[in-house]
């Protein structure tokens, strides 16, 4: 009898754990299983690799989270990354091949054989990073303006800006990668201050966003707009401004991701992040962020991004082809979404916030 009640309470405890931290539990379980199956998985080299994939992705997912909370979606993050990468790299590169770039519109205006406009300057890297982040903010602002003030559907707006700005990134550089970036820039991804620099940057952003969402009036307003924009408006919330801010922040975090990726890849790539849309949406879905708006936390974004990084990494270690990796990724997203739908249905639509 006693035994029975102990078992049930244990079961209940596990149930609670699964309901509240389902994805995190899953991620830990997956990590343990994979470490047992693949010896290379838990090696320090692979862990470093995991970390270098995880943090920039998390930056993007946090941006996506903010947009999703207000009930939107941002398909343009990948194009923001590409454009920011190209703009930043062309400004600070130390030399460029005239044969390759002769036809690029930016040639001889922003950068030339002797490198970018800022090349050699003390402020080259910081100014270029500032430009990259500004590009992200501007594109995000444009998306937000079209959605919030022109009342256009977010899907179409960000689809169009994906087309336009990835087109722009390719156009500006005539579809070539810009290399020869200053080492002080590539150091962003390669140097460590106790921990790798991206960890500091993104973890700090995640904590700030978490605090904003849970402990400030602005956070509550974001959720309110996502739950019911009309009621939020009548309750005195500046709905367009809140929406605009969410999209702008998404652009900012995409650009932040771009800084880290560009530093790691040591170049400005007009095609940067082209296949990342799936990873970002996938991580958001796996984390349990609602595409209807009003539901999702930073820790969901973390859990989703972490799981997705582990998954992709373990598939790579298994030496599977790129194609099979994609098939499995697609399958896992479907599975995660199905489990989430089932779980939310089970708990009677309880709010997860």
């Amino acid at each position: 009898m006693n035994d029975f009640s102990a078992t049930t309470s244990l079961m209940h405890g596990i149930q609670q754990l699964l309901r509240r931290n389902f994805v995190l539990t899953l991620t830990v379980g997956y990590f343990i299983v994979m470490s047992a199956l693949l010896p290379a998985f838990a090696s320090s080299r692979n862990l470093a690799n995991l970390s270098s994939n995880f943090w920039p992705l998390l930056s993007l997912v946090i941006g996506q989270l903010l947009v999703m909370i207000v009930g939107g979606i941002d398909l343009s993050q990948s194009s923001i990354m590409a454009l920011a990468s190209v703009c930043g790299a062309s400004l600070m590169c130390q030399s460029a091949d005239p044969v390759v770039f002769a036809k690029a519109p930016l040639w001889n205006i922003v950068f030339s054989e002797q490198g970018g406009f800022l090349a050699g300057s003390v402020f080259a890297v910081s100014a270029a990073v500032a430009v990259m982040l500004t590009v992200g903010i501007l594109v995000g602002f444009f998306n937000g303006f079209a959605v919030a003030y022109l009342k256009m559907p977010p899907f179409i707006v960000t689809l169009v800006s994906m087309m336009f700005f990835s087109g722009a990134a390719i156009y500006l550089t005539a579809s070539e990668n810009i290399t020869h970036l200053p080492t002080s820039f590539t150091a962003i991804a390669q140097k460590r201050v106790l921990l790798p620099i991206p960890v500091w940057i993104v973890a700090a952003s995640a904590i700030v966003v978490h605090i904003i969402l849970q402990h400030t009036a602005f956070g509550k307003k974001l959720y309110a707009v996502g739950l019911n924009a009309k009621a939020a408006l009548i309750s005195g919330i500046n709905v367009p401004m809140v929406t605009l801010t969410a999209f702008t922040l998404s652009g900012f975090f995409a650009a932040l991701g771009s800084v880290i990726y560009s530093a790691r890849l040591e170049g400005g790539r007009p095609t940067l992040g082209q296949d990342l849309l799936l990873d970002v949406i996938g991580a958001a879905v796996i984390g349990g962020i609602s595409l209807f708006g009003g539901r999702g936390r930073v820790r969901d974004a973390c859990a989703g991004a972490l799981f997705f990084t582990l998954l992709a990494n373990s598939l790579n270690l298994m030496n599977l082809s790129f194609f099979i990796v994609n098939i499995v990724k697609g399958g896992v997203i479907l599975l995660a979404a199905a489990v989430d739908a089932w779980r939310v249905g089970k708990s009677g639509g309880m709010s997860k916030r």
Binding site: I156, V157, S166, G167, L278, G282, I327, G331, L334, G345
Partner: protein, 340 residues
């Protein structure tokens, strides 16, 4: 006198309704004239026929997308469906000597299968269409690349001969198939109960369920039909190209969505038509691309202009809907009182 008042008011509403319906067409005419004025060669019959021919592939696929959009969903896997279904047919022909007719049939079947796969996850497991079809898009292309080992797949030469067929000596096969599918889908949407049910489900699925409609089956049929349309579009393209390379169909779901939206369909569901709607939308997209090419615009610059045009069209459409909604509210409030 009050009767007269009523008539004049109902007439006023009808004018706005007419304008609503004609919006895609009027944008179409404006774009057409714009390109016509900049390069007169553009207006010649051959070049127009050419545009229609080139529009056929994306147009047929966009017809399927329109069905899905009307039910309030979206199919991002359309491009991968095009790719996967055509290479299944191509491989069967190349490796197993299947006849082109049988292979075409298998191609459509594969399209229906992928649509059914999407439908299963959407209706049975209640996952958002956006998420399901995004996953299918990635996984489907992965599977296709796996099957072809990411090499281009050549089709038998006979296919190109079929593709060169012209009805009455002037109507090319793609246009013929496009016209036939557009007619069939439009009749389906306006004259078959299932087609009307799409609009009901897209307006409010819960209401439709309460009205006793089998909502899940209705939604599922839209994705299956969309899959079939996508693979038919793929077949049409193959008859023109004779070859399927690794990037075939990639990103075409966005062109299909653009065509449907330019044709007046809404992502929120419940609105849209095959003809004139999506047909006009597909022609417009093709026309813009050809116009950009004939205007000798920088290759890398073209997608940007295309994006701007799409943005402006959607913006105009949004504005217009807001104005109509505003106007309608006022008219109704006047009409209401007249009665009493």
């Amino acid at each position: 006198m009050s009767r007269k008042l009523e008539i004049s008011k109902s007439f006023r509403i009808d004018v706005t309704a007419l304008f609503t319906r004609c919006m895609p067409t009027s944008i179409f005419i404006i774009v057409f004239l714009l390109f016509g004025l900049t390069s007169p060669r553009f207006l010649q019959p051959e070049s127009l026929l050419n545009i229609a021919k080139q529009a056929s592939y994306i147009g047929i696929a966009a017809l399927g997308m329109t069905l899905v959009l009307i039910t309030g969903g979206v199919d991002l896997s359309l491009g991968s469906t095009v790719y996967l279904s055509t290479i299944v047919a191509g491989l069967l022909m190349r490796d197993y000597g299947l006849s082109p007719v049988a292979a075409s049939f298998v191609c459509l079947l594969a399209g229906a299968g992928i649509g059914g796969f999407n439908a299963f996850f959407i209706t049975r497991l209640k996952i958002l269409p956006f998420v399901v079809t995004l996953a299918t898009m990635i996984a489907g292309r992965g599977l296709g690349l796996l099957l072809t080992k990411s090499r281009a797949l050549e089709f038998p030469a006979a296919i190109l001969k079929v593709g060169a067929f012209k009805l009455f000596g002037f109507l090319p096969l793609p246009i013929l198939l496009f016209a036939l599918s557009a007619t069939a889908i439009q009749l389906f949407l306006s004259r078959i109960p299932l087609g009307r049910h799409y609009y009901a489900v897209g307006f409010n699925a819960e209401n439709a369920r309460r009205a006793g409609l089998p909502v899940d089956r209705i939604i599922a049929s839209a994705y299956v039909l969309c899959g079939i349309c996508a693979s038919l579009g793929g077949l049409v393209a193959v008859t023109q190209l004779g070859i399927v390379n690794a990037g075939f169909g990639k990103g075409d779901e966005f062109d299909a969505i653009a065509a449907a939206v330019l044709g007046g369909a809404a992502l929120s569901g419940g609105v849209g038509s095959a003809f004139p709607g999506t047909v006009i939308g597909a022609l417009m997209i093709r026309m813009i691309w050809s116009g950009l090419v004939s205007a000798k615009i920088n290759l890398y610059f073209q997608p940007m202009i295309f994006a701007v045009i799409l943005f402006l069209a959607v913006m105009l459409d949004t504005r217009r809907n807001m104005i109509i909604a505003r106007q309608r509210r006022k008219i109704i409030s006047l009409r209401k009182d007249k009665q009493t």
